[in-house]
């Protein structure tokens, strides 16, 4: 139900653009106004969220340790799983952010009939999400050829590498195939694994359908219904230089582009409101981005306050008689 609702929602978004552009000629709205609003909403929302996180202090250093601590010199500590200083934390975070270390951990011991222990693993989620995130990044970078003139060498290089396995014309990007596959996997997993389905919310399906639609419209424009790339580049350069082109140029671009652009705009505007903020939050997680060095280096809680404790003297006052009888040392006889 939630998935269906989300799918319909995304379809409605697409129809909205279709009607707006082909019926009402709202090229300028969808080509210029919406992207500006979206970028503004994204920046404002993202900054707001990050500031809100940053404003909450980290009162305690609550590292989750996943390996041997640093203790005696002859015991080898595991610096990446249990960092003891800032440098090691950077290593741990890089492993986490670039290679999704924790998802990779999803290993387990399988028992084949026999009974025989076999060490297998459950890395599908890791592979699926890694494939998605990396290809998404590459595709994002690749798009800079629309925003830059001349196109920097590095972007052309990425493009060349991406189309390494050239099959016919036009060039097929590996990332296009991978991202569609990965997104489909992530969606099917959510739909078919009833445990995951049980925990899923609308907010889990909407981003998936949005991303899938964005990828599909992109692929469609590239391989099936060619759009006027020159005009698109003029539009994006114009947007970035705050000198957007007029309706005349825009009306020459196919409607599929406007759908693509609108979905992207919607996604980035929606991002700060959604779980997609994990892209910022992953850097701030106190269980991961702090060293397990509490006993080495003092951590200060900015809102630490005094509490009423039961002091030794109060305690001795209460128990002095019995202590005396038991011959225990006293502060006050």
């Amino acid at each position: 139900m939630k998935a269906l609702f989300s799918l319909i929602f995304v379809i409605i978004l697409m129809l909205l653009v279709f009607a707006g552009v082909t019926g009402a000629g709202m090229h300028y709205i969808f080509g210029v106004v919406v992207p500006y609003i979206a970028i503004f909403a994204f920046l404002a929302g993202f900054i707001y969220r990050v500031i809100r996180w940053a404003r909450s202090p980290v009162p305690f250093r609550i590292t989750t340790t996943c390996g041997q601590q640093k203790s005696l010199p002859w015991i080898k500590n595991n610096r990446l799983e249990n960092p003891d200083n800032w440098f090691a934390v950077v290593g741990r975070m890089l492993l986490e952010i670039l290679f999704f270390r924790s998802l990779f951990r999803n290993t387990k011991t399988e028992l084949k009939s026999g009974p025989k222990l076999v060490y297998g693993s459950n890395k599908y989620l890791w592979i699926g999400s890694l494939a998605f995130h990396w290809t998404f990044l590459i595709i994002f970078i690749r798009h800079f050829r629309f925003f830059t003139e001349p196109v920097p060498f590095i972007i052309s290089l990425i493009e060349q590498m991406d189309s390494f396995f050239q099959i016919g014309l036009p060039i097929i990007y590996i990332t296009d195939a991978v991202i569609l596959g990965a997104l489909t996997f992530l969606l099917l997993r959510r739909l078919l694994d009833s445990r995951i389905r049980y925990i899923s919310l609308h907010a889990d399906y909407i981003p998936l359908f949005l991303l899938l639609s964005i990828a599909c419209t992109g692929v469609w424009m590239r391989y099936f219904e060619k759009v006027d790339v020159i005009s698109i580049k003029q539009l994006s350069l114009g947007l970035f230089s705050f000198n957007p082109p007029g309706t005349e140029l825009l009306s020459g671009i196919g409607v599929m582009f406007f759908i693509h652009l609108f979905l992207v705009s919607f996604l980035i505007a929606y991002l700060p409101l959604s779980k997609l903020m994990h892209m910022g939050g992953v850097f701030l997680s106190p269980t991961r981005n702090l060293a397990n060095n509490n006993r080495i280096k003092r951590h200060v809680n900015p809102w630490n306050y005094d509490v009423k404790t039961h002091t030794y003297m109060e305690w001795e006052d209460e128990f002095r008689d019995v202590m005396k009888e038991a011959g225990m040392p006293l502060e006050k006889e």
Partner: protein, 176 residues
């Protein structure tokens, strides 16, 4: 074909049905996890059930001694008697086998007029259920014994002091 032969022939289908019926007694989507996760250590409940229903079925076909039966029943019941089941629910899974057999062999039973044999098998299942009840009671007793031993352990050290010959009574402990 006799029912016993049929049962042997359709063994895996019947077992699968039975197991699914049992797993469906778990709430929400637990059943899916229990069915899917094959790791003995990550999924002890599913692992035990899968293994032991097979043994119980062999007992039914009278191929296994009674000791194996009670161990096998005990392995299942020990889990179910600490899960959120009423006693009848905890042992009722045995009866699901009747349903599994009937569903799987419905046609054959009518065709080959096996209802007499079926009655025999079903009364064996009833006996199995009674044994399961014994096993359930044993598990609950074990649980209560463990409970009282736990209480004892909490005070063992104190009690042993007052009962050992060289302890000095009069020095009372005021532990609450």
């Amino acid at each position: 074909m006799s029912l016993a032969d049929l049962l042997k022939q359709k063994q895996s289908a019947i077992l699968e049905r039975w197991l699914n019926l049992i797993l469906d007694t778990y709430p929400g989507d637990a059943s899916v996890f229990l069915k899917k996760q094959k790791n003995r250590f990550a999924n002890p409940v599913g692992y035990t059930l899968t293994r032991e229903v097979d043994v119980l079925f062999q007992v039914l076909l009278a191929e296994i001694d009674s000791e194996t039966l009670s161990t096998s029943l005990d392995n299942i019941i020990r889990i179910r008697s600490v899960q959120e089941f009423s006693p009848s629910q905890a042992v009722g899974f045995i009866f699901f086998l009747k349903r599994a057999i009937r569903e799987e062999l419905d046609g054959e039973i009518l065709e080959d007029a096996l209802s007499g044999e079926l009655l025999e098998i079903e009364s064996r299942i009833d006996r199995l259920a009674l044994t399961a009840f014994d096993s359930y009671m044993k598990c609950r007793e074990r649980l209560h014994k463990a409970r009282s031993n736990e209480l004892k352990r909490k005070t063992n050290i104190i009690i042993s002091r007052f009962t050992s010959p060289d302890s000095q009574p009069g020095q009372e402990n005021e532990a609450e």
